[in-house]
């Protein structure tokens, strides 16, 4: 359990103090102070994270899990301590944590592991993963492409059928449809914890219950939850989960795959080569147990260590406090946008039973998202425009692109108000008001 320093809520004054830890957030854009509202795409990094990565290269750098010199030993210790730190962060054991480049690689690792099992690799232990014609993989209409395309490819490679749970008109996963889609043929259900477009926390426990009742595996895309709210993966009872370091104050190039130990040790490897083996023959080889069997080649050592430092930072602030602060900013954003004429928000309105995070994707009637984003950028406001790697959910709501503002612990109510003020001026500037 994480012990937070304080239980008082984050306020603007504290958010500004936190912001001072992020060197980049002090810069200007077009002569205006930067207002960074694109943390859903990638977060900025505190000085402690930047420093620890630099210090690693200045003092310790060596290849891990090989070599007998002092540096190799120190680097390996730091690397494995980082794994333990990540495990503690999500309530898991360290042998249940696999390093990846990012969440996308983690999802592909699972899909290709299942694919390899379906080709007969992995022996008896891997039989539980074998899928083929008649089996079904289930995902939802709100997924990021990373949690959709790998399953499309897996279905195409194995002959299994991909089925998709649709959304209600107000942008929630349709649980009636989920109950109808998830059935005896379902072998795997892949779902996002929080939608990167719609901004709502998904009903993971209900979906897990449906999957469990039919013996299907559950894969959780935790990219938009791990950085923003307390996460206990064993308590959620998912089989696998993935997230990316760069969205949670860490550098790019490091991601995490969590898998229940029993499953990870049964899943055939995806990438193969050095480091993941025990004995290598000329024709066949034997592999290490998880997690190392999934970590072929020289690893992302500095990034893994920096991720642990990022987690230290988040835990020192307190994920429960971050969650509450972002909910406050998100509500202010949602309500403010709702009041701007000609603006439509994708996703459910805050209500009892609908938990929203600090992001909102919206359409400005008559103005393309790219133009909205350009207008915001002119005022120093960085927001995301486009389909946010989620074309199907945009299509579901009849648009090709939206503008998305996403907040993090270092944002203030003034940031949200500046964005709202800018959005309110968009239609007049483009002469559509």
């Amino acid at each position: 359990m994480t012990i937070t320093a304080t239980t008082t809520p984050i306020d603007d004054a504290e958010a500004l103090r936190l912001r001072a830890d992020f060197p980049l957030l002090g810069r200007e854009v077009h002569g205006e102070p930067l207002i960074y509202l694109d943390s859903g795409a990638t977060s900025q990094k505190p000085r402690s994270v930047i420093d620890v990565e630099r210090a690693y290269y200045e003092e310790t750098n060596a290849a891990v899990h090989r070599g007998a010199h002092t540096l190799a030993g120190e680097a390996t210790e730091l690397f494995e301590a980082a794994r333990e730190r990540v495990a503690r962060f999500v309530g898991a054991r360290s042998d249940e944590i696999v390093w990846t480049s990012n969440a996308t690689e983690g999802l592909n690792l699972i899909a290709y592991g299942i694919s390899n099992a379906s080709l007969g690799r992995g022996g008896e232990a891997a039989e539980r993963f074998r899928i083929g014609p008649g089996d079904e993989i289930v995902t939802t209409e709100l997924e990021h492409h990373a949690n959709l395309v790998p399953w499309q490819e897996l279905a195409l490679r194995t002959g299994a059928t991909l089925r998709v749970i649709g959304l209600t008109d107000d942008g929630r996963i349709d649980l009636d449809e989920a109950a109808a889609v998830i059935g005896e043929r379902t072998r795997l259900v892949a779902v996002a914890h929080v939608s990167n477009v719609l901004g709502a926390v998904n009903p993971v426990s209900q979906i897990v219950a449906l999957a469990r009742s039919h013996g299907a595996l559950v894969v959780l895309d935790a990219c938009q939850s791990a950085p923003h709210l307390p996460l206990d993966l064993p308590a959620l009872d998912v089989d696998f989960a993935v997230f990316s370091g760069h969205k949670m104050l860490a550098p790019t190039g490091i991601g995490v795959l969590y898998g229940r130990s029993e499953l990870l040790n049964a899943l055939p490897p995806f990438l193969t080569g050095g480091s993941m083996i025990t004995t290598v023959g000329l024709i066949e080889s034997e592999y290490l147990p998880a997690p190392l069997r999934f970590e072929a080649g020289t690893q992302r050592v500095s990034q893994a260590i920096a991720l642990a430092t990022a987690i230290d930072y988040l835990d020192a602030v307190g994920l429960d406090r971050i969650e509450a602060w972002e909910a406050e900013l998100g509500l202010r954003l949602f309500e403010g946008l709702s009041r701007v004429e000609g603006v439509r928000i994708l996703g459910p309105a805050p209500a009892p039973g609908v938990e929203r995070v600090g992001l909102a994707s919206f359409v400005v009637d008559g103005v393309h998202a790219h133009d909205v984003g350009q207008f915001l950028d002119d005022r120093g406001i960085a927001a995301r425009v486009g389909h946010h790697c989620a074309q199907p959910v945009h299509r579901r709501f009849g648009v090709t692109a939206t503008t998305r503002a996403s907040a993090y612990l270092y944002n203030t109510t003034a940031d949200i108000d500046a964005a709202l003020d800018a959005v309110a001026g968009v239609r007049a500037f483009f002469r559509v008001a």
């Binding site: 393309h368 790219h370 133009d371 425009v385 090709t400 692109a401 483009f430």
Partner: protein, 150 residues
Amino acid sequence: MASRELETLYQQVILDHAKQKHGFGLREGSSGESHQVNPTCGDEVTLRVHRSADGRDPVTVESISWEGQGCSISQASASVLADLVHELPEEDLRARVGAFRELMQSKGSLEGDEELLGDAVALGGVSRYVTRIKCAMLPWVALEHALAVR
């Protein structure tokens, strides 16, 4: 309040073209078509080349027709391009595509030759915004491809 830079990017002539799109609506009788997508935002343009039927030498493009959706920059860019293509020899057209590309890559250092590019010179401000150059180039790239597929 918007900056002078932003006002330069979105000149009135650009906003007008984005609203009143010239050449919009695909016509029959084309001799080349191209569909171009900007995968980062989903902007798309389908563009047809209508060549003169009389077998004139050099081969002359009478007009283009197009359809698409996207930001005001991509839509205005297709519209100004449609105005430009009027009974032009193919080689001449390719040269204008080249001149426009050069303008887009100029980072604001070129004015653009109005004789050659017409209203498209108003898009010169785009060259200062590296993330928007693709938007402006989309219909011009479609034209290049449509000319090449015959």
